[in-house]
Amino acid sequence: MAVIEARGLRKVFGATRALDGVDLRIEEGRIVGLIGPNGAGKTTALKAILGLTPYEGELTVLGRNPYRERNQVMQDVCFIADVAVLPPWLKVAHALDYVAGVHPRFDRARAESFLSRTSIQLSSRVGKLSKGMITQLHLALVMAIDAKLLVLDEPTLGLDILFRKQFYDTLLNDYFDHNRTILITTHQVEEIQHVLTDLLFINKGRIVLESSMEDFEQRYVELMVNPDKAAAARALNPMHERQVLGRSVFLFDRPDRDKLKSLGEARTPSIADLFVAMIAGQEGAAA
């Protein structure tokens, strides 16, 4: 069953097309990275999925219209919209009480066990916690909810690398299972490469790449060549070329791998490099 399905999803703010006909399908049990430059429509897409904004086109989340049937959809969907949206006056113990009181699928013991691994005190107020601790608290609350879909919008924004690493490790080891689906947006693309099962690139309100990580690894090849073989590599029609320490790095889409091997070192590109190649290529075509 598709957890999220969109067809021709559109959203216009004045003259800007935030979403310009998005088609996508996210299956159950996937961890999907939604990646795009600022203003590409990521947040708008997430808001539409979470029923926070009206839209044109077709969109179903867990088989329902998220805008009209938001109350039902939110029984099975949870999200972290941004860092530090927990109100400063809230006490940690009260936050646990509240979520336990309103959410039928919140496991309080689980949340407490997450918190016990942090230095967060139950008697503290959110306003007294550091940014990293607030995110840990929010994550502890959300990960103790047995939701079918978890949406994370820049969950690690403003956190240091230690917290970020911990965040994704916890997410992967303690939360994820194959009945759950996670949709993540982030600018720190490199850090989630090993976490994702699927990849969505969005640019100017359109999905420009929809791929599983297996396909991604089979399809794209990054080739590093010495200057003397650069021309030969260029002849194989790479999608992108950049210079690194006097050598050329080419990115190929479905190349003949045997041919590449004779020219230099071939490897799987990073998501970030593919992203730059695709988005930069689009910008070039548009100019």
Partner: protein, 317 residues
Amino acid sequence: MSAAAETVIPAAAPATAPRPFLWSLRREIWEHRALFWAPLIAGALVLVSFVLNAANLPDGIRALSTLAPDDQRTVVMWIFLVTAMVVVSVAAITNAFYCLDALHSERRDRSILFWKSLPVSDLTTVLSKLCVAALVVPAIALAVTLVTQLLLLLVSAVVLLVSGESVSVLLSLLGYPEFVVVMLYATIAATLWSAPIYGYLLLVSAWANRAPFLWAVLVPLGAAFAERLIFGSTYLFDTVRRRAIDWVPAAFDIDPHIREMAASSEGMHFNFTLPEHPLQLAAPLQFLSSPSLWIGLALCALFIAAAIWLRRYREPI
């Protein structure tokens, strides 16, 4: 497939059923602790000022015992009434600020995105806030008033006993239980009567992106001013004023007593004699059949529906 999913979920779920409304109420009280503290402090101040003047109490009682029983009762009841008015006014002002903040602060600190990530509908959320303004705060005000009054009574009794004065004046307080019923009725009547004010403040709170207090004050003030300039009338101003204070004549049959007061006020220290049975003044049928009450409640419902709509369908921030 769905059958399999249903058999798994209850096993993981906690035993208690979710109670979003109850927890939304608690949430409001965690956030707005002033709703408790302000009336409590007001009650405490009344009590403290009474205790500080306790030395004058025996003289006062001696003077009081020369009055006729009706007047004795009126004086004592006036002290109680003033206590109630101080506590209730403070509670009402706190309540107004609460209403203005209730749907605004969550947007200001973006915590609305957290609340909206949980399965609590906008209907539940807004109604819980209305319930705090229209039920919880009046109940707190009434409880604090009653406790303060009982403590005043206790202090008086102790002072009188210590100073060797007769406590017979306190017998005039035999009507106190009835007075409590009157206060309960007054609280309910005042709350129902002023419901459109709370509804309006909650709507402004949900609508204004900044400075809800200014919007809440300036919009009706500007409209009333415009009416005065354009039509030369004061209909709007009168309506708002009536809404704020006219619940007394609407809920109580006080007209005959006011006339009596005008006729016999010379030489009196108080211009309103409470009847021996103040409950007689209560006019619930007159109150419940007054069109103003129902128009006000309908307006309140309209404002609240608009506030729910705004919280539900407008972009959170």
